[in-house]
Point group: C3
Chain length 342, copies 3
């Protein structure tokens, strides 16, 4: 049997290192496609000139291009037999990624816990994206529920990793040279600076996008994510193709430009839930909540901790019901840090 | 309120300069996407070698890539609350745009006229696209009908700008070095030269393209055009997404290759009407009428003034009814100048 | 009449050379789009670093990008009035194609045979793709059935070219410098090497992709293939758009990664049939049969001769019925050589 059947729960052991296949060179082509697939307008990723005026050598690729590329490589090894993608933590965008960079991914298994039903278990991995100079550009933890190959196989010793609920402000990676002291608010698109945002504030991003099958499949393929359920109508009883959660993430982040145009760089992901499935035909809207603010050791740069919520028709600010369950229209609840001008 | 609500009629005053946000670096990625989204075959934009044999350093991006990019930047400031896009004039493609260039847009308000109903008004702006060296690469006038914020607000003094009905042949911008004296008609695809076209001649471009939602949305996003009605099925009572007029423009121009393969460079837009709305599922065809011819001060180069009509099923040559109203199947009526080999 | 009506059977004569129009410069944009349109994962085309470790200067574009580009240029001259695309032979990928290369195509007519019904005939052409240094990068023979302009016109003398049923192993073009002796199987994605494949072996590629209209049209346009039937719902009585056979070819080749991840480079096409039409909504799967193996004069490199079959729902290994007719679910039967690590 030459085809990859994917790992089952029994195939994971704490301490294991997994080298993921298919390194990928990114170019201006991926940048252009990102702009075609999402309404992405953050100036630092759109304009080499704007990036230069911010102290960078040219426009870095959107951080989520790096995230999706690094994530996509892990799918054949980690989540081909996953039942659910349960969460993210300790995501840090360690270095900007530029056109011409080649990314690859490695993961370490840092936790396992068999479910009480004996049919599946939870696996925690810490994944690192590396560039062609073997520099880490991205690191994050995710945990997934994975099927067991054999219900009768013995449960491994439970190891649940200790994860920080939030990346500390001091640990936010600052791209070398980043400097917002000459920031051009006109070119960025909005006048709101660090001081204008307050914890607890909710921002309605107003715009909505109705999703098409061709779009989410093109995006998901671009990241070389091979999970069958995104592409093949035979995979689900209802014949619908489940949209890759990262597609909703990028869509919501792009929509957040309207109200958060100056949240230029994603620098950390504290956590995230794909609360409900998304399908073609859904109209996705987004709102944000300012969770926290922090100073950053770079000229003119501050950090906002933001909750980004993608919804298919829900009210702005509505998230969970009385018992803490996500409302059925909530698609994504993402907790991240972004850099803004002070 | 941090979200951009767009300008209303009252927010425009003659003489106002508007700096549009989000500069954009274009690359080979945008060129490739343009070829994927439109059946674009004009050799000077397709091949670096062909462009070099025409005296240019490499293949310039299609002039309409520049137009859409510059136009897209103006949408949040000019037409977010527009009721209708009424017309274009005095469009000039001042310099070729190459992969690696970064474009931004500025507009000057040159006219305002409140409508007699008191609910809206017409705004004229002259928009200039600038590259990273602050060179103007494109300039055009457009006028739009914009809602008033408050029906009761006072009407401004009416100013209607004087606009040339056609860009004079002497004002057509010639790219530095352009030289068609060694033009290769085999590689360009057709033998027809300047002398073969006569004013009044009508050309049926024969081919048709049935449009998909994913295509027009990807195109419109690529130009960072954020007008809601193109993306969000909740914006119109009929649940349909209105296709960006520029998508039809590029589609018709690409279809015109068949019969106008040698109309290599768009150099001016004299005027244009988006005569009727276009929706996914429409099959777009195109025909052209030669309106005028002119000599140009560059070796081997002549200019054709062309009417380019996009239609969804109408007869070739059919444009308006007896009282001057566009036929319901006409989508676009564009009056432009292009350079051809003599 | 300025529009291209295409050549009819009478317009072809043995010995004729046809210079095809519209040279095309390929870039990282085309590479990115290829990854968005197909689930392409072969490492040598995905990563500059992987290609360098294999002795190439950077990642070459997928061989099928070259094939589609060269093929697309021939459509207006060869197959605009074709009734059927009958076969391929003697396809050789002579040199790798890199981002920045400009391709053009020339064809020589090498055979003609009028059909007994007098309405059409078969034309054989040998097409060569050339880069900007006039180096041949690709050569193949294809034959098509073309309509006659006039049923009454006299039949030409029948010439049927002698074609090799398979490209001999000694004739497989080896890219200069290619060296698989330091091949990284982890990064490539599978451990299977030359010795692990046996003639007669059948590989189920498992994955499936449901095709959308927007995807196949974007792909086909990207190759500047102008055949009307792919784009225009008015071309067939059933209103469906026929999918370009090369789209299925690329899709099947990309799906074959799962089981043939190390079949890195397509180097020859021995033959191929588009067995049945493909339409949007079809879910395409693929399987391969190892037909032959050969040694190659490059370090660490071996060649596999493979049959690649694309199907819409058929059983793995099922191809033809008792009288040699393709099963109705078979879309493509392609016979090619690929290089693998020994």
């Amino acid at each position: 049997m030459k085809t990859n059947a994917g790992r089952f729960f029994e195939d994971f052991a704490v301490g294991q290192e997994i080298i993921h296949a298919v390194p990928r060179t990114l170019s201006g082509g991926e940048r252009a496609l990102y702009h075609a697939l999402y309404p992405a307008c953050h100036a630092i990723h759109s304009s080499d000139e704007f990036a230069r005026s911010s102290g960078l050598p040219e426009a870095p690729l959107d951080g989520l291009i790096g995230f999706h590329t690094v994530f996509g490589k892990t799918v054949p090894d980690i989540s081909l037999n996953a039942v659910a993608n349960l969460g993210y933590a300790e995501g840090r965008f360690l270095k900007p990624i530029y056109a011409g960079d080649t990314l690859r991914s490695v993961s370490e298994v840092i936790g396992v816990k068999q479910n009480s039903n004996g049919k599946s278990g939870v696996v925690w991995v810490r994944t690192t994206g590396l560039n062609q100079r073997d520099e880490a550009v991205l690191s994050y933890v995710r945990w997934v529920m994975v099927k067991k190959r054999d219900v009768g196989s013995e449960a491994p010793e439970t190891v649940i990793p200790k994860l920080n609920p939030v990346v500390a402000a001091d640990d936010l990676p600052v791209p070398k040279g980043l400097n917002f002291s000459g920031y051009d608010f006109d070119l960025a698109g909005e006048p709101h600076r660090f001081a204008d945002y307050e914890a607890g504030e909710i921002i309605d991003h107003v715009d909505g996008v109705t999703i098409e099958e061709a779009e989410h499949m093109m995006a998901t393929r671009l990241w070389q994510n091979t999970a069958k359920v995104h592409f093949d109508t035979r995979q689900r009883p209802d014949g619908r193709r489940l949209i890759y959660g990262g597609h909703v993430m990028s869509l919501a982040r792009a929509l957040s430009f309207n109200g958060l145009a100056n949240a230029q760089l994603i620098v950390a992901i504290n956590g995230g839930s794909h609360a409900n499935p998304c399908f073609a035909g859904d109209t996705v809207t987004a709102w944000s909540e300012v969770l926290d603010k922090a100073e950053v050791g770079a000229p003119g740069v501050g950090a906002l901790r933001l909750r980004l919520v993608a919804s298919k028709g829900g009210a702005v600010g509505a998230l969970k019901d009385g018992v803490g369950k996500y409302n059925p229209d909530v698609l994504l609840d993402l907790d991240y840090w972004a850099f803004v001008p002070v």
